[in-house]
Symmetry: C2
Subunit: 263 residues, 2 copies
DNA sequence: AGTCATTGCGTTACACTGACACAATCTAAA
DNA sequence: TTTAGATTGTGTCAGTGTAACGCAATGACT
């Protein structure tokens, strides 16, 4: 026997009890969005062995609602709780995953996946996207792979991505854009207090086009979903912008009808 | 042995070869929309034994893309080909289906489903909605259950519905409404030639509110996606409305940006 | 020929949008 | 301490789109 690192408990559980605990053939993948330094970012995992980036994901317990499973997976792998999470698509191409990746993962620990094992069968994956407040989250280690990192959405295009996760990410972005009027992106991607320019940059980033500062402000205020605070954010060599918070009640109500307008 | 009707071949295949042919735990349900007599209708199946209405559905072959599976299921069960079909949600509650329904179905043919059989395990279902031209479709028998019928969406609320199919239908309707601006509903739900009042009624039905005749026409024509024909539809005791067709090219292009407006 | 519901085409007041002007503010450099 | 440069707060105005409504024309039925 070559001396390999010990097999992590979470992986061992998958190997030994996977087919007993989880539904066969169904997995969950989470596209986690954050916003920082005027950039929309994704929380990705550096898959240790294959040197490719992957989405954090997991499986569905045999008597668990899949939406609950998504929340559990997010919590287990990132420590994030009480997060805005939404299913956006299902990925069901027969050859969407490369089973050899799993084999390699286990081989580095000196373990081998039996042929026809639960884990290397075909999986249909349900895609969820999460919106989180970048400033209120600190990266911790993932129990399975180890290295998390934020990557800008532009940057992601040039990174090596595992399986079909690149396509999943693109689809998540697309959903974010087309459903923008109905999603609480501001509330979930920004810190509690934020400035109008910050909110604008968020919309500009998602829409991928510049917006007029004054018209944007007029429209946003027109929705009646913002509370203007008596504080400003000092810092830059320029006039300090006011801080705002969301009026949660009105925000929720407005989203149901959609924050319409010509963006 | 009591004398039962012979087990249909399609059902026998499910019983004997189901777990060999199909993915475990994943099913497909189709919500089929049609439009007739100013009403949005659904094509439902009268589940012979339970006397409840169900959505036509099916399973995914082991090496088949789930989108392909949806097209195949639709074709096999309704004869419909080349149809607008779109995935809208996944239904994954652990107790969403009632396994006893399947048992009853087979028992009426004198067959019994073995315990722990593939078919009575938990299923996660992927919901698709289909848009079809009511006037260009004639109901044929379904190979599994036998009786298809169109039901108005208002009527559906008061019918007994199998499993969680009622919730699936509601969710399909909701998706139809929120994505209205991006869906080719006119092209797929109406016959090739149609009148402006017919198109309006379709939108009014889906949006569930009346629209101003004159403003609707102005907006629709403004999109530049209609061809006005030199024919009128005679019939009523009133002025004959002109017929229109869609300019497919411009329609597709316009949909990508969304048919915006304040409906 | 007259009735009546429905359709084609049009008008007006109003709200919203896009584009842009100008003063106020804040930090850093002179 | 003063000034420069960048950014923000607030406002204006013409053009476009929307909501609401008017009126004549059409076609089957009486």
């Amino acid at each position: 026997m070559s001396k390999s690192p010990a097999l992590p408990a979470s992986l061992k559980q998958l190997l030994v009890k996977g087919n007993e605990l989880f539904l066969p053939g169904i997995s969950i993948d989470c596209v986690i969005f954050g916003f920082h330094e005027n950039t929309l970012k994704l929380l990705l995992l550096d898959s240790a062995k294959s040197n490719k980036w992957t989405l954090p994901g997991g499986f569905v317990l045999k008597s668990e609602d899949i939406n609950d499973a998504a929340y559990r997976v997010l919590l287990e792998r990132t420590g994030l709780n009480d997060i805005y999470l939404k299913q956006f698509d299902v990925f069901g191409q027969p050859n969407r995953t490369d089973a050899s990746v799993h084999k390699t993962t286990f081989e580095q620990y000196g373990s081998k996946i039996p042929k026809d094992h639960w884990m290397i069968q075909r999986f249909v994956s349900v895609g969820y996207f999460a919106l989180i407040d970048y400033t209120n989250f600190s990266i911790q280690n993932d129990p399975i792979n180890s290295v998390y990192d934020w990557k800008g959405i532009e940057q992601v295009k040039h990174l090596p991505i595992e399986h079909d996760h690149g396509a999943i990410i693109q689809k998540a972005l697309e959903s974010l854009r087309t459903q923008l009027a109905y999603l609480p992106i501001g509330k979930n991607l920004l810190p509690k207090k934020f400035t109008m320019p910050e909110l604008q940059k968020l919309y500009e980033t998602i829409l991928n086009k510049p917006l007029d500062r004054r018209n944007f402000q007029r429209k946003m205020l027109g929705f009646g979903i913002l509370n203007k605070l008596n504080e400003t954010r000092k810092g830059g060599a320029h006039k300090s912008p006011f801080l705002y918070t969301f009026n949660d009640k009105k925000y929720q109500k407005a989203l149901k009808k959609g924050l319409y307008g010509s963006w």
